[in-house]
Amino acid sequence: MTSRDVHDVLNLPSDHSGAPRPSKKQKTSAPRPNLKGLAREVQNLGGDNPIAIVPEVNFFKKRRFATRKPVAKWELKAFTNSARGDDGALVLRHWKRRTDDGAPPVEGAQDGDGQQQRGGGEGTPASEKREEKPEDSAFAKYNVKVVVPHYTEDQYHSNLQNNDWTKEETDYLLELAKDFDLRWTLIWDRYDFTPKPPGGGGDAANGEDTHTAVVPAPKQRSMEDLKARYYEVAAKMMAVQKPAQYMTRPEFELYEMMQNFDPEQERKRKQFALNTLSRSKDEAREEESLLLEVKRILARTERFNEERRELYNRLDYPATDSDINSFKTSAGLQNLLQTLMSTDKNKKRKSIMPGEGVSPSNNSGVPNSAVSETNPANRRESIAASATSNNHHHHARRDSDARTPATPADPTPTSAAAAAAAANKKKGGGAQQQPERRKLTQQEEQVYGVSYHERLGSGPTFRYEKINKLYSHKSGQQQLRITNALSELDLPPRLVMPTAAVTAQFEVLWGAVTALVDLRKMSDRLDGEIKIEEAKKAERDRAKGIAAEKEGEKEKGEGGAGDGAAAAAAAAAGEGEKAGEKTGEGGQTKEDGEKKRPGSSGSLTATGHKRSASVLSAASDKSSKRQKK
C-alpha cells in the first residue's frame, strides 16, 4: 500500500497527478521462447535483441497431395428453367459439383414427379440418372412479372369506354405494358398501333366503307396519353374489383395517385425539363448562383427572426421582485401548486407562438404576488404543456406530472433570482424546442395515423355524449328548433352509430344547423324591426303628406303612392328650382335603388344607417334561405 493507493481509494488528487502511474510489472520483452541447452546460451548472447534463428528445413515444400481429399467430381447436369413456362421443354446442361453418390436419387424422390419415377424404375441405374427430371434452375425465382389490369368485354363496356380509345387499342396498350413491364419509355418507343380497317367481318354493311379504303391514320400518342389511358383503366378496374372504401392504405394511395394523374401537368413538367436541358452554361451558372443567393437570404432572415424573437422574450420577461416569503413554508408551496394547477386547467389551451412572448399565465386570475413569484415554474409548465398539447396530450400530462413534484423544490433555494434565471434558461430551451418539433404535413399525418383532438376529460367518455353536450348548451327553444331542422333532414337527434367520422360529420352538420337557426332568429328580429320602421315611416309620410298638400299637387300624389324611390326620382326631377344638394341626394338614393323617401338631408343620413341594416338583413335572409335549401 503506497500513499498513491490511498489517494486513489479516497479519490483525492494526487500530488503529481500529471505523471502517469508506472505499471507494476513492466514487461520488458516478449515472452522468450523456451530454449534449452546451447540454443539458450546462444540466445542469451544477443541480450535484449534476440538473434533470429531460422530453423533448418530439409525439405522444399510440403507435399501437396499428401493430405488432400480425392479430386472433386463435377458432372454435366441437365436442368430446366421453370420461369420459361414451357414445362421444361428446353433442357440445358451445366457443370455442377457432384454431390454424394447417394444424394441425387434422394433429391429425385423428393421432387421428381411420379412419371419420371416410373421411367427411372424401369431403366438401369445408369439410365435412371439420365431420365430423372432435371432440376429447376436456381435462377427461376428471379422471374418477376408486373400485374396488369384485366377486364372482360362487359367490364370494358360498362366502365372503360372512351371516345378517344377503341377497345382494340386499349388491349394493345395493356399488352405492351405487360411486355415491357410498365417501362413507359419503352412502351412509348414501341407503340405502333395500326387500327384494323373497319368492316373486316360485316362486309355487307360496310361495303361502301371498304371501297373507299380509308385506313385510319394511326394516332400519334404521346407518352402522357398512354399513361393517362393506362392509369384510367387501371384505376377503374381497381375500383371495380375492390370499392375504394375497402382498399388498404397502400392500395388506396395507388388508386388515388392513378386517378389524379394529370397528363397536362406531366407535359408541362417535361417542357420545363426540356428547357432545363437546353439552357446554356451561363444560364445554368446564373441559376445556380441565384439559388445560392436565395438560400443565403433565407438563412439570414431566419437568423434575424431568431434574434428578434430572443429579444422579445427578454423584453417580455416579467420581473420577479415581489415578496416570496409567503411561499417559503410547505403549506404556502402547496397552495401555490394548487393555484398553478387550477390556472393551468382554466387557461385557454392556446399554443404560444415563440414570437408572441407574453405568457398566458400573466392573464390568469391568480393574485398578483403569486403570479410574479411563481412565474418561473408556472411559465415553464405552461409552455411545456402548451407546446405539447398541440401534438400529444399524454405527453403534456406526463410532462406536467413529472414537473409538478419538482416545483416545490425550485423556489425554496437560497436565491429566487437564481431559480428565475434557471427557469428563464429552461424557458428559452422550451421556446427553442418548439420549432424543432416538426409540423407534419397532411399526408404524413395520414401515414402515421396522427390526429389532433381536444383535451380529453378523465375517464372514458362516449362520443354521443359530446353531442349531448352540444345540445345542453342551448336554450330549450333552440333545442327544439334544431331538432326540428334535423328531423326535417331525417336525422335522429341521437346518432345510431357514432363513429369518429360520423361524429365529426354530425358536428359539422350540427354547426350548420345552429348557424341556420341563429340566422333565422336574427332575420326574424330584423323583419320585426323593419316592420316597425315601416309603420313609423307610414306614419311620418302621412304627416308629411298633409304638409305637402300645401306645397303642390304633384308631390302629394307621389307621396300618397308610397313608392319611395319613385318619389325621390320624381321629386328630384320635378323640383328643378329646389336646392342643389337635395337633387344630389335624390340621385344618390336612386342609385342605391332602395326604398327611400324624400326628406331633409338630416333624415336621409339617419335612414342611411337603417338602410344598411336592412340590406344586411335582406342578405342574411337570402343566405338563410339558401341554407334552408
Binding site: D86, A138, T185, L274, S280
Partner: protein, 473 residues
C-alpha cells in the same frame, strides 16, 4: 494468402449470377465475324467477313490465311455496308466454318464413323476448307447437326429487318439444330459489356457508325441513328488525302512488293513489284489496299482533341507544330504526316472539314457526323431519360480507338449539353472496344437468369420463325 484465388471446389459458382451452359456467341460484322463460347472474355475466333471466291471452281474459301493472290480469285463479303447480312448462303457457310471448323464444337460422331471409318477422312487442308458439295450424305447429315448441344446467341444491327431475323433463326434451327437461340442487338450487348442497362451507345464500327439509346436493356427504336462514318469511310478519306497530297501517294499493297530499298522521306519508292501470271481481281486488290490503309489508320490518324473544331481559327496552325508521324508504305516510300492526320478524321465531327469525296456515298451531311447522330438520337426520345443516357455514354467499336476520339467526344458533348452531366464509358482495353458486342453477348449468354429467355427448339417448331419477332424485342 488472401489474394490467392479460391480453389474451384470452394469457389462459389453462383455469386455473380453466372450459369454456364456452353452457349455460343456469334457476332457478325462487316469487317469481322466474331465467335466464341459464352462466359469467356474474348471471342475465340475472329475471322474476316470477307471471303474468297474462286470463280473457276466455284468454291469459297474463308479465313485470313486463304487470302493470298491466286487465279480467278475474288474477294466478297457476305455482309453489306449496313451491317446486315446480304448473302445468306455465304453467311451460312462462313458461320459454320467459324463455329464448327474453327471453334471446334464437339459434335456427336455418327455411328458409321465411330472409330470404324471405312475410308480415311479427307485431311483438313489448313484453313482452306472447302464446303463440300461433293461430300457424301453421311457427311452432310453430320454437318447438319453440328451444334445440337450448344445454344446460340447471335447479334444483329439495331435496324435489322424482321425477314433477316427470321432467316437467322431458320439457319440456326434447321441447319445446325441448336437447342436454343437468341438474337440480340449489338448496342444492347455493348452496353452490357460496359455494365450498363441504360446507356447511349456510340458504336463506331468498320462500315458504319450508330448511336442507339438503350433503356433497361432494350433498344429505343426511335433513337436509332446511323451513318456511314466508320472505318471504311475513314479509309476513303485517307484515299482522298493521298490524292490531294503533293506528290500523290500511291497505295501499293504488300503482296505486290517483291523487294524494296530504303528511300528518303518524300522520295519516290524504289521497289520491285511482283508480276503475276494471272489476273489480280480488283476486289482482291481493294481488299489488300484496305489492309494498308488500316495500318495507316492505326498508326498515323488521330482525332483532333478539341476543345473546338479543327477548323476553328488557330487550331490548324497549332496542329502543324505538333510532332508528326512517319508512315512507310509497303513499297518503301515514306512521308511525315503532320496536320493531315488530324484533318482526315475531322470529317467525323465536322462535315465541312471532310475531304471531298469522289463517290456519292462518301459525302456526309451534318446530321451524319458523330455529334449530329447523338443529337438526333437524343432528340427523338423522352426528356426524362436523356440525363440518364448522357451520364452513361458507352463508346465501342474499333474505329473509336483512334487516339483522341473520346477526348473529342467529351468536348463535343459537354459543349452540346452544358447543363447535364456527361460521362463517357470507353473501355481502356482495345480488345474490349473491338469486341464490345461480343463480350456483352458472352456475359448475357452465361447469366443464369438469361436461360429463361432462350427461344427453344420446341418453341421454334411450334411457332415457326416468326417467333423471333415476338420474343427478341
Amino acid at each position: 494468402m488472401a489474394q490467392q484465388p479460391l480453389p474451384s471446389s470452394v469457389q462459389p459458382t453462383d455469386v455473380y449470377g453466372g450459369d454456364e451452359v456452353s452457349a455460343i456467341v456469334l457476332d457478325p460484322g462487316y469487317i469481322n465475324t466474331r465467335a466464341g463460347f459464352a462466359g469467356e472474355e474474348m471471342p475465340k475466333q475472329v475471322l474476316p467477313s470477307f471471303y474468297g471466291h474462286i470463280t473457276s471452281s466455284n468454291r469459297d474459301v474463308f479465313g485470313d490465311q486463304a487470302m493470298y493472290p491466286r487465279a480467278d480469285f475474288e474477294i466478297r463479303n457476305y455482309m453489306n455496308r449496313d451491317s446486315v447480312v446480304e448473302d445468306w448462303d455465304a453467311a451460312t457457310k462462313i458461320w459454320e466454318h467459324a463455329l464448327v471448323n474453327r471453334l471446334g464444337i464437339p459434335r456427336p460422331t455418327p455411328p458409321s464413323k465411330n472409330g470404324l471409318n471405312n475410308k480415311p477422312k479427307p485431311a483438313a487442308e489448313g484453313e482452306d476448307v472447302e464446303m463440300a458439295d461433293e461430300a457424301d450424305l453421311d457427311e452432310t447429315e453430320n454437318y447438319e447437326k453440328p451444334m445440337a448441344e450448344n445454344p446460340l446467341l447471335m447479334t444483329e444491327a439495331a435496324w435489322n429487318s424482321p425477314k433477316q431475323r427470321e432467316k437467322a433463326i431458320e439457319i440456326c434451327m434447321e441447319n445446325w439444330a441448336c437447342p436454343a437461340f437468341w438474337l440480340s442487338k449489338t448496342p444492347v450487348l455493348a452496353a452490357f459489356a460496359a455494365g450498363k442497362a441504360t446507356a447511349l451507345v456510340l458504336d463506331v464500327g468498320g462500315s458504319n457508325t450508330s448511336v442507339t439509346a438503350i433503356f433497361d436493356g432494350m433498344v429505343l427504336k426511335r433513337s436509332v441513328q446511323r451513318s456511314p462514318v466508320g472505318g471504311v469511310w475513314l479509309s476513303s478519306q485517307i484515299r482522298s488525302l493521298f490524292e490531294a497530297s503533293e506528290p500523290k501517294v500511291e497505295v501499293v499493297p504488300t503482296f505486290m512488293v517483291e523487294n524494296k530499298k530504303p528511300v528518303e522521306a518524300g522520295q519516290p519508292a524504289d521497289a520491285r513489284l511482283k508480276t503475276f501470271d494471272f489476273q489480280i481481281s480488283p476486289s482482291f486488290r481493294a481488299y489488300e489496299e484496305e489492309r494498308v490503309l488500316k495500318e495507316f489508320k492505326e498508326s498515323v490518324v488521330e482525332v483532333w482533341r478539341g476543345p473546338g473544331r479543327y477548323l476553328a481559327p488557330g487550331n490548324e496552325d497549332y496542329a502543324k507544330n505538333l510532332p508528326g508521324r512517319v508512315f512507310e508504305m509497303p513499297d518503301g516510300s515514306n512521308q511525315m504526316w503532320r496536320e493531315q492526320r488530324f484533318k482526315v478524321a475531322e470529317g467525323m465531327w465536322d462535315d465541312n472539314a471532310a475531304f471531298p469525296s469522289a463517290t456519292e456515298e462518301g459525302k456526309i451531311t451534318k446530321a451524319q457526323t458523330v455529334p449530329g447522330l447523338i443529337k438526333a438520337a437524343l432528340d427523338s426520345i423522352d426528356v426524362d431519360v436523356r440525363p440518364a443516357l448522357l451520364a452513361n455514354v458507352v463508346v465501342t467499336g474499333s474505329t473509336s480507338l483512334l487516339p483522341g476520339f473520346t477526348d473529342r467526344l467529351n468536348h463535343e458533348l459537354t459543349a452540346m449539353f452544358p447543363s447535364v452531366k456527361v460521362k463517357l464509358h470507353a473501355a481502356g482495353l482495345s480488345s474490349e472496344r473491338r469486341f464490345g458486342a461480343w463480350i456483352g453477348g458472352s456475359i448475357l449468354g452465361s447469366l443464369g437468369t438469361f436461360h429463361q429467355m432462350w427461344i427453344s427448339r420446341k418453341e421454334y417448331e411450334e411457332n415457326g420463325p416468326g417467333i423471333v419477332e415476338k420474343r427478341c424485342k
